[in-house]
């Protein structure tokens, strides 16, 4: 039994090419050895209890060369510094980068540029073994980037494997707002695996917003490893709009005092979609705050998994950590598995978490209907109202209108900008 699953990970990898990025030895050491001993995790693995990979394991990936496309079709916001990857090729780079913002793509990134960012999951290890392309973004000391940085990843073609590895360095006192979009075109049984290593130096400020708008038959694995130093402020917004199978692993190491961490997530799903959000906030130093809000709506046969973990290490006193997960099921075939966890080893802390699961507020629907609004319309208004607070956390108005536009097109949900 054991043997056959190991064989399945090996056979899954058999057509994948070795990493093209010049990764440092600290990352590569043992990686291949570890992988050869690993297999696809089964539901017996706590972190994969509700997310089955057996369907993925059967897919034989094959890299193909895609025809040129017009990336403008996937553009989220007009006014931004933009990069576009079509599969593992970088097809567009804005040429008007301001001082202090430097971007290196693929083989421009030297081995010494990569900082160590170890993650033990098989997803991250696969990324190290097969990383094909990616970018390294550096925001210099004290620089506030005037426009958002936008990175668009397009998975093009069936059974396409895409391994991207990226790094973000936000230097002391720097400030940036990054929009990342994941899309796909004709991607049937394609696989994308993206890894972000994010380093926030002292007093830096970063807002990262991920829009996951993959095709309906795509497997998407996203890992974010974040390290925060003293006085830094980090926000991650994860908005999952589409994708057959989406897994997000977010790991925040708070490695300095007076840090602030915000994790927000919105997932709106239908059909057979599966979304799995795993987050960990690891408080190693005292006097920090973290806030987490994940909200989701599941229709049809979709399933969602939420696992949020807050660690407070010994002596990390005066931590305020709040975590909240709210779900609405619209259909009896939809499933939610929620597991908010607290692991606290210090006493002078205020930590809480909450999780709710329910249906649409029928009284609210009735109220709207009694005023002449149709059932469908009323329901979608209530869903929109439910999602508003988490979506309003997306700071950029341009991006927010993009999200609202997508929601209107895909789910007939009409949200209003509040500006």
């Amino acid at each position: 039994m054991e043997q056959s699953t190991k064989a399945s990970l090996q056979s899954f990898r058999s057509n994948l090419s070795a990493a093209k990025l010049a990764l440092p030895s600290v990352l590569i050491a043992n990686n291949e050895g570890d992988l050869s001993l690993m297999d696809f995790p089964t539901s017996r693995h706590e972190a994969w209890k509700y997310t089955r990979l057996s369907r993925l394991a059967k897919i034989q990936l094959e890299s193909t060369i895609a025809a040129p496309i017009d990336w403008e079709d996937f553009n989220m916001v007009k006014d931004a510094y933009t990069f576009v990857f079509q599969n593992t090729t970088c097809i567009y780079i804005s040429n008007d980068l301001p001082d202090g913002l430097s971007i290196k793509i693929g083989d421009e990134i030297a081995t010494t540029d990569w900082l160590s960012s170890i993650n033990e999951s098989h997803v991250a290890k696969l990324n190290v073994a097969h990383a094909q392309n990616g970018c390294l973004i550096n925001i210099a000391k004290g620089i506030q980037v005037d426009k958002p940085i936008q990175i668009i990843y397009i998975t093009d073609g069936p059974k396409q494997p895409n391994f991207w590895r990226n790094q973000l360095n936000i230097e002391v006192g720097a400030k940036a707002n990054i929009h990342i979009g994941y899309f796909s075109k004709d991607a049937i049984d394609s696989y994308s695996n993206v890894h972000w290593s994010v380093f926030l130096k002292e007093n830096s400020h970063l807002i990262m917003t991920k829009i996951q708008n993959d095709g309906e038959a795509n497997f998407h694995f996203s890992t974010e490893n974040i390290s925060q130093l003293k006085d830094s402020n980090f926000t991650l917004n994860t908005v999952t709009l589409n994708g057959a199978f989406v897994r997000n692993d977010v790991l925040v190491h708070v490695e300095g005092e007076n840090c602030e961490t915000h994790l927000n997530g919105a997932y709106i799903m239908k059909e057979n979609q599966h979304v799995d959000n795993h987050t960990t906030v690891d408080h190693i130093f005292p006097n920090c705050n973290s806030y987490e809000l994940y909200k989701g709506v599941m229709d049809d046969k979709s399933t969602a998994v939420f696992n949020g973990k807050v660690f407070v290490r010994p002596n990390a006193q005066k931590i305020n950590a709040f975590q909240s997960n709210a779900n609405v099921l619209l259909s009896d075939d939809a499933t939610i598995n929620s597991k908010p966890e607290l692991e606290i080893y210090a006493d002078d802390v205020k930590c809480s978490h909450g999780s709710t699961t329910g249906q649409l507020d029928l009284e609210a629907v009735f109220y709207l209907r009694s005023r002449g609004i149709s059932e469908t319309e009323a329901r979608s208004m209530v869903v929109a109202a439910f999602m508003t607070d988490v979506l309003s956390k997306v700071a950029s108005n341009d991006l927010k209108s993009y999200i609202y536009q997508q929601l209107a097109a895909r789910f007939n949900l009409h949200l209003q900008g509040e500006d």
């Binding site: 706590e46 509700y50 010994p314 002596n315 006193q317 779900n327 099921l329 619209l330 259909s331 009896d332 939809a334 499933t335 939610i336 598995n337 929620s338 597991k339 908010p340 966890e341 607290l342 692991e343 606290i344 080893y345 210090a346 006493d347 002078d348 802390v349 205020k350 930590c351 809480s352 978490h353 909450g354 999780s355 709710t356 699961t357 329910g358 249906q359």
Partner: protein
């Protein structure tokens, strides 16, 4: 005392020793250590059991030998050596007592030290006590009175002899042998326990109570409790546990099965005060217990527990809400001190329509202890209008202890409503200040706050137990409860 601080409280907690640490000098009949088929046959023959029960035990032993000890709980301990345990220990005079006067005075003294003086209880409280000392039930009171109503309340071995049809019908139906490692072990070697049957439509007029106590060294205690509430009946059942002070870790692996048939209600309350080990984390009981109840239509099961003892606790009293409109409740206070570790919580499995469950869990950790809540709320596809409310609070009393929450929420029905909330904090300085500025000393204030914090759960306990539970809280957190 005016300057009594939380630091001092923590210091006192560290030095707090176990007050029930005495060994009764009673001759016991112990069989050789080890676990194999012969031992199981020996236990079975000593208890003069019928063939089917021996087969049940042997089957369990076989299953157990193929299973692995679970390691998912948030506890660290040295795995018990199952071959170094004596699986049967009975006080030597196993003859039935004609009257209360026949009972060994030494044993009576033990009970008095435990604070459950039987005479007193018989006379004053009307509680019927089934007292289990090292596996064999030695005295059962009020049996006659219960008999008039058709209530069967006896030791498990008596039930096997006198009511085999009931035991055979219900035993292992809620917790099958292969359920988990310790349930299988229990099924193979269980020595005694309590059995209770409430006939149709009978409301049990008094609280039924069992007191467990591990006495002999190097023995494990493996009881099995089976409570059956027939249609429309009601019973409130109390269980209390203590163990004397011993250096080696003793194992306690019990199985409790509750069956609430249509419209029945079972209220099961536990005060667990096994020996927690000394302040260096030496010794103490390993408490690995499987407790589960099944609710038929309109039935209700309510678990209330106050956990103050044991070195390692691994316990999840659960409810299977099978029938429509059934109700499951779980109220728990878990206190850990010194090096104690507790991983406890509940499972609420909603299968029927309109099922409701409530979970209130209060953890208090002090010293260097680790206290975890682990719970599962599962709403199955056909459980329309299921409702769950969970609240898990943790109070931290020292900077070296830990409090953890691991709730699992699985929902497959859109009409279900599930709420879960958890908080972790220490006693608020603002709360202390508020009390102090009204002239309440710091110590009293801490007591007041801890008491208030646990009130929701303590209120659920029957009167007789609430007093004892409060006493236990006082002992476990001495100096803090005013």
């Amino acid at each position: 005392m005016a300057n009594y601080t939380e630091d001092e409280l923590a210091e006192e907690l560290k030095n707090q020793e176990y007050k029930f640490g005495f060994v009764s000098d009673i001759d016991t009949d112990t069989i050789p250590i080890g676990l194999n088929e012969d031992i199981v046959r020996l236990i079975s023959s000593k208890k003069e059991e019928p063939e089917w029960l021996l087969d049940y035990r042997l089957n369990a032993l076989e299953l157990w030998s193929t299973m692995n000890e679970p390691s998912w709980a948030h506890v660290k301990y040295k795995k018990p050596d199952f071959q170094a345990i004596a699986y049967y220990s009975a006080p030597k005079q196993t003859k039935k007592y004609e009257s209360w006067d026949d009972v060994d005075p030494e044993m009576k003294a033990t009970m008095t030290k435990l604070g459950i003086s039987m005479e007193e209880q018989q006379r004053l409280t009307g509680v019927a006590v089934d007292f289990v000392m090292d596996s064999v039930s030695v005295a059962t009171s009020f049996k006659e009175k219960l008999g008039e109503l058709g209530i069967i309340f006896c030791s498990f071995s008596e039930a096997v002899q006198n009511h085999p049809e009931l035991v055979k019908k219900y035993m292992g139906t809620v917790i099958p042998t292969q359920d988990n490692y310790y349930a299988a072990l229990n099924a193979a070697v269980f020595t005694d326990g309590s059995f209770c049957y409430i006939p149709k439509g009978v409301r049990c007029p008094m609280e039924l109570s069992t007191y467990f106590r591990i006495n002999a060294g190097g023995t494990g205690q493996f009881e099995r409790t089976l409570v059956i509430a027939d249609e429309g009946s009601y019973v409130s059942y109390l269980e209390g546990c203590t163990a004397p002070q011993r250096d080696e870790n003793q194992l306690h692996a019990a199985v409790v099965e509750l069956i609430a048939l249509e419209n029945a209600e079972i209220k099961y309350s536990t005060v667990q005060n096994w020996y927690p080990g000394d302040k260096n984390g030496l010794g103490g009981i390993f408490n690995f217990v499987t407790k589960r109840g099944i609710c038929e239509k309109n039935a209700k099961i309510s678990w209330t527990q106050v956990e103050t003892g044991s070195a390692v606790t691994w316990k999840y009293p659960s409810c299977i809400l099978k029938g429509d409109n059934s109700v499951g409740e779980f109220y728990s206070v878990a206190v850990t001190n010194n090096y104690q570790q507790a991983d406890t919580g509940t499972k609420m499995i909603h299968l029927g329509k309109n099922t409701t469950s409530t979970i209130i869990s209060k953890g208090i950790s002090a010293g260097k202890s680790q206290n975890s809540y682990r719970g599962l709320v599962q709403i199955h596809k056909n459980a329309h209008n299921a409702r769950n409310f969970s609240q898990c609070d943790s109070l931290l009393m020292s900077s070296e202890c830990g409090a953890h929450t691991f709730p699992y929420i699985e929902c497959k029905n859109s009409s279900a409503k599930i709420e879960h909330e958890a908080t972790t904090s220490k006693i608020g300085e603002d709360q202390l200040f508020y009390c102090k500025q009204r002239g309440i000393s710091e110590e009293k204030a801490i007591g007041l706050i801890v008491n208030g914090y646990c009130k929701e759960v303590l209120n659920q306990l029957p009167m007789e137990f609430a007093v004892e539970a409060q006493k236990l809280l006082t002992i476990s957190l001495e100096g803090s409860v005013g």
